[in-house]
Amino acid sequence: MLALIKIEWLKIKKYPAFWWMLGIVALTYPGINLMFYRIFLQITTRKDMTGAVAKSLLGNPFAFPETWHSVGYFSSFFVMIPAILVIMIITNEYQYKTHRQNVIDGWSKEQFITSKILDVAIITIVASIMYLLTAAGYGFTVQDDNKANWMEEIKYIPLFLLQTFAQLTIAFLLGFLIKKAFIALGIFIFYFLIIENIATGLLKNVVKTSVGRFLPLEISDKLIPVPKFLGKIDEASYKQNLAEVNEHIVYTILLTAGIWWLCYFVYRKRDL
């Protein structure tokens, strides 16, 4: 396993897109959260009564411990940035025919897929470290006296890891099956931004069914529900979402494991 990680690191460390991804994530994760933090500040610092009421009702979503939840939720909007990298990494192997050369040189086909799981894991960890630094950064810097409770809600760290890994796995599957970078990227972004949101909305509001939560990305989206302060808008569904998290951990693991199993299965049968 360590040998595979070393080889994948040789491939990634000089890949410019990897460092671009890291740079963009380093800007967008704090950036999107700063945007929401400023909105929050605008509401709560109003001189009239609404500001005070809002502050007492909402609490500070960027202070400990809620920062783990809020920052995780907003940062996950940008999973498509690491997803682009994941798709590039697998489609590059096809374009350069190195997926074939790796096997010719002495890897088994299973080792090739395992090496790709490790790539997705490495990228997930990098994105999660960015999330962790952003969330902790807000937690320590926003004005709030209570820093002792920073440990509460750190369950969102493993949840963010799982969610990111699951969603990047779906991106990988598209790249793996479609083989062409631009088509796979187009489908992923179109599906991520438009199709699934429309489908979820239609199923929930028009068809009045909850099956929308079983759509591929929605399964893991449900791991980090809307933050507490936004949950005030519809408290009943916020509570329901929180209650469903454990269930969705199981679904997410099953779906992700199923996708990787499919990749192993297809690759074993496929001519390279």
Partner: protein, 300 residues
């Protein structure tokens, strides 16, 4: 003789097209084994199968007496079809990956391999900036990395300039002298004839013949004779003992007599002509060239 690679009734189809049809042969240890065939004859498909990049529909193969596996592939340096490298990495970084996967050689061997293929000066520049010939050289370097006992070259001189072709030919001869087994697919007859000890000829997925070059080529003696009256020459040799067939070469007023191997006797041929009133101006025993044999086999 001990076999490095044995193929047993390998078949492979792409839809209705039969890319390989029941192909079997052995590659003896220490041989330079040339696989010849026109484009689309199944050479690369066959090498792809024995290197586990492609799956055969039926049949089996073994390397070193064992079924093909990652462990056997690590003992083989391979260039299959095209140079396959990470475009954004340098030659050195690409070979580090080859080295780490194949576990052949070390850091020093990487530099040695680059030196052999004359890429030392450009070893730290990106692969994407290389010319076609340089890419091919790097692929050859990767196959040589860590001194493997078997080397598979699929069209090794693709994209090389005449000097490069000569260098690779010399390199193959040198490797053969070191006792390495080299399996080389090519459509360049000249290339195969100059370096190979064994040859397999393929056409449309079927193996036409395989064996030592001498055996494959010299199953016949050819005597080429010339005289003023060509028709008369043909006439007097039509029923001559040992002649299997006669070929007229109008362009230079000669005919070729094909005789069973070892039955050509130039003195007897000369005397036969003289006795029949023909004075020869040309008499030579010819070895059949690979080119002749190849066209003979593939044009049927």
């Amino acid at each position: 003789m001990e076999s490095v690679l044995s193929l047993n009734a390998i078949s492979k189809s792409y839809g209705k097209i039969k890319a390989l049809n029941n192909v079997s042969y052995n590659v003896p240890k220490g041989s330079v084994f040339g696989i010849l065939g026109p484009n689309g004859s199944g050479k690369t498909t066959m090498l792809g199968i024995v290197l586990n990049a492609l799956q055969a529909d039926s049949g089996s193969f073994s390397w070193f007496g064992m079924p093909g596996s990652p462990a056997t592939r690590k003992r083989i340096g391979s260039l299959l079809e095209t140079p396959n490298f990470y475009h954004y990495l340098s030659a050195v970084d690409n070979l580090k990956i080859t080295q780490a996967i194949s576990q052949r050689g070390n850091e020093e061997d990487i530099h040695k391999a680059l030196e052999i293929v004359k890429l030392t000066e450009r070893k730290n520049t990106r692969f994407s900036t290389y010319s076609l010939g340089m890419k091919q050289r790097l692929a050859i370097g990767a196959a040589l990395l860590g001194n493997p006992e078997v080397i598979v070259f699929d069209e090794p001189t693709n994209g090389l300039d005449p000097v490069g072709i000569l260098e690779i030919r010399e390199l193959i001869k040198e490797l053969a002298q070191q006792g390495k087994t080299i399996i080389m697919a090519s459509h360049l007859l000249d290339e195969v004839e100059k370096v190979c000890t064994h040859v397999a000829i393929m056409k449309r997925g079927t193996l036409l013949t395989a064996g030592a070059v001498d055996e494959v080529l010299s199953n016949e003696d050819i005597v080429e004779i010339g005289a003023a009256n060509m028709d008369k020459m043909v006439e007097i040799f039509t029923n001559y003992t040992g002649v299997t067939h006669i070929k007229k070469q109008e362009s230079n007023n000669t005919i070729q007599l094909f005789l069973k191997l070892g039955e050509a006797n130039l003195e007897a041929v000369n005397k036969h002509c003289f006795d029949n009133g023909i004075v020869l101006n040309h008499l030579v025993l010819k070895k059949k060239s690979l080119e002749t044999k190849f066209f003979e086999l593939t044009n049927n």
